[in-house]
Amino acid sequence: MPPLLAADHVVFSYDAVNVVDDVSVEVTPGARLGILGPNGSGKTTLLRLLSGTLSPTRGHVRLDGAEIASVSRTSVAQRLAVVPQETELAFDYSVLEMVLMGRYPHLGPFEIEGPDDLNAALAALDATGTRPLVDRAYRTLSGGEKQRVIIASALAQLDERPSQPPSPSASASAEASASQALLLLDEPTASLDLRYQLEIASVLRRLHDERGISIVLSTHDLHFVQSVCTEVVLLSRGRVLARGPIAEVLTPALIGNLYGVDPKDAAPLLGR
């Protein structure tokens, strides 16, 4: 299967330091890819490169085989949504307003949201279990609720429904388009306690299983990556240390190497 999204030998340097150094990553349809690494290993930069908000110094990032920089921002946004580590707002938007903002790439410059957009937003709230919060001010939510609302906003962004023309193969094309959607999350549980971590993990698994959304997430949390992802890339000082299926890569030796700890100490963290 051709990859939906691929980084091809990307390098990103900042002040002559290679923050991301010759990294290649492929995201195939339905993938659940974890980017695991200690703080400062270049995870966030790699995700920004993959989402096209940052341009690589060298190398290529391709969405469906096309250079991502050459695809219009709105076309990228209809396919690929990003959940940042934390989102703090300058103004007091309600949860519904926040989720409706995800509809931006589906609307013309002066177009306002219609019933289809509202339905997309409500469906996204349902999918993340945040429907009861719909009228709350985003600022008043807890960390875990905020993160789920941002995921809902990303889902509303990926929802293609209004622009689907009715066709004989409507159901088939809807399925195909669902599996084309990509969700990129940057340390989604970094500031959350265990209960919220488990909640986010179950939301993400459900999005993958029910909608076929491909997931790429960065984290330094071994438990979290095991509970969501099937493949993992280990990133150390901007370079790929190892990659492959979870079971093969998450070994005491590699994890010890990645975090600079004794493999004997790393073993219990992997449940072995």
Partner: protein
């Protein structure tokens, strides 16, 4: 139960703000040290040259009410755009140094106007504002590819301080009468006796409001942060550039008409957000209308509170705005 679209819920409030502005513009000309009668103003039996009431209404007070509405609406809307651009609810139209540039231009025209009559005070203010905009933009662009809002803020604050020093220097060179005029201008005054300064400012203001209409939705997303907005498809750098230039031009044009009238650009957006929420598609038009109504009312107050003397309207807005601002700071978590 399906909730209504938030945008729809706010529309009645925007309409109400518009109505408030229209009522204020129509009512304000009847307020003043010299009472005029509505019936006489409209009385076609009396020739205009003999109808003092109609003359006061049309020549003295209506232009002033319209100028107040234009300036108030523009400053309030520009305030909203600056707050959105800088992601800072405490930003004002004057934060980035536009008004200091305008003030310097006006000070030079007032002080040296007799010897070098090149530009009127209003035009000089506009030129000064444009120069300040160019300097701040060049500074903010210099080290970054996009517009860094941090650098924008720092450049604006520094430029404000530097221009203030130049303003004092120019004032020091002026004589007693010039300094008095300069000081009065700095207080912010709508003592316009004609439509001309308004007409000169109007093209800039119209162009700015057309940009604001496009900006409203991108500004919503920019308040999530630049990366988050870009990930949702917002052309971030373009939106930032348009926001900066349109709001700066609008501010410069408004200041050229009324001087640096304070607090309108911050009180009004905050009050309006309490009424319609945070969506810029509601906050922008509602602030423009409410800002117009607010400044017309403040000006009517300024003209009557110590009649027959007239206070500069900037003093009234500052007297209302100062305590309001404090209240706003204290009620924040």
């Amino acid at each position: 139960m399906t909730p209504a679209l938030p945008l729809r819920r706010g529309l009645p409030m925007v309409t109400l703000c518009f109505a408030a502005m229209v009522v204020a513009i129509c009512a304000a000309p009847f307020v003043g040290s010299m009472p005029i009668s509505f019936a006489r103003v409209l009385d076609r039996q009396i020739p205009f040259s003999e109808n003092i009431d109609a003359q006061i209404f049309l020549i003295a007070r209506l232009p002033r009410a319209l100028a107040a509405a234009l300036v108030g609406g523009t400053l309030a809307a520009a305030g909203v755009v600056f707050q959105g651009l800088l992601r800072n609810p405490l930003a004002t139209p004057y934060t980035l140094g536009v008004s200091a540039g305008a003030a310097l231009g006006a000070m030079i025209a007032i002080t040296f106007g007799a010897t070098l009559p090149i530009l009127g005070v209003a035009s000089a203010a506009l030129v000064g504002a444009l120069i300040a905009v160019a300097v701040v933009y060049a500074l903010a662009q210099a080290r970054h590819r996009g517009l860094s809002t941090t650098v924008l803020l720092l450049a604006g604050v520094t430029l404000n301080a530097f221009f203030s020093a130049l303003i004092l220097f120019v004032q020091y060179l002026g004589d007693f009468a010039e300094t008095y005029r300069a000081l009065r201008w700095l207080m912010g005054d709508l003592d316009v006796a004609s439509y001309e300064p308004m007409l000169a400012a109007l093209p800039f203001i119209v162009a700015a409001f057309l940009s604001f209409a496009w900006l409203a939705r991108p500004l919503n997303l920019l308040s999530l942060g630049g990366d988050a907005a870009a990930a949702r498809g917002v052309p971030v750098r373009k939106a930032q550039r348009i926001a900066f230039f349109s709001a700066s031009l609008a501010t410069g044009a408004a200041v050229s008409v009324g001087g640096p009238i304070g607090f309108v650009g911050i009180i009004v957006p905050h009050l309006v957000r309490l009424l319609v929420g945070a969506d810029h598609r509601l906050v922008l038009p509602a602030s423009a209308f409410f800002g117009g109504a607010f400044l017309v009312a403040c000006d009517a107050l300024a003209r009557t509170v110590i009649a027959p003397l007239e206070l500069p309207v900037g003093i009234v807005t500052a007297l209302i705005g100062g305590p309001f601002f404090l209240w706003l700071l204290l009620r924040k978590r």
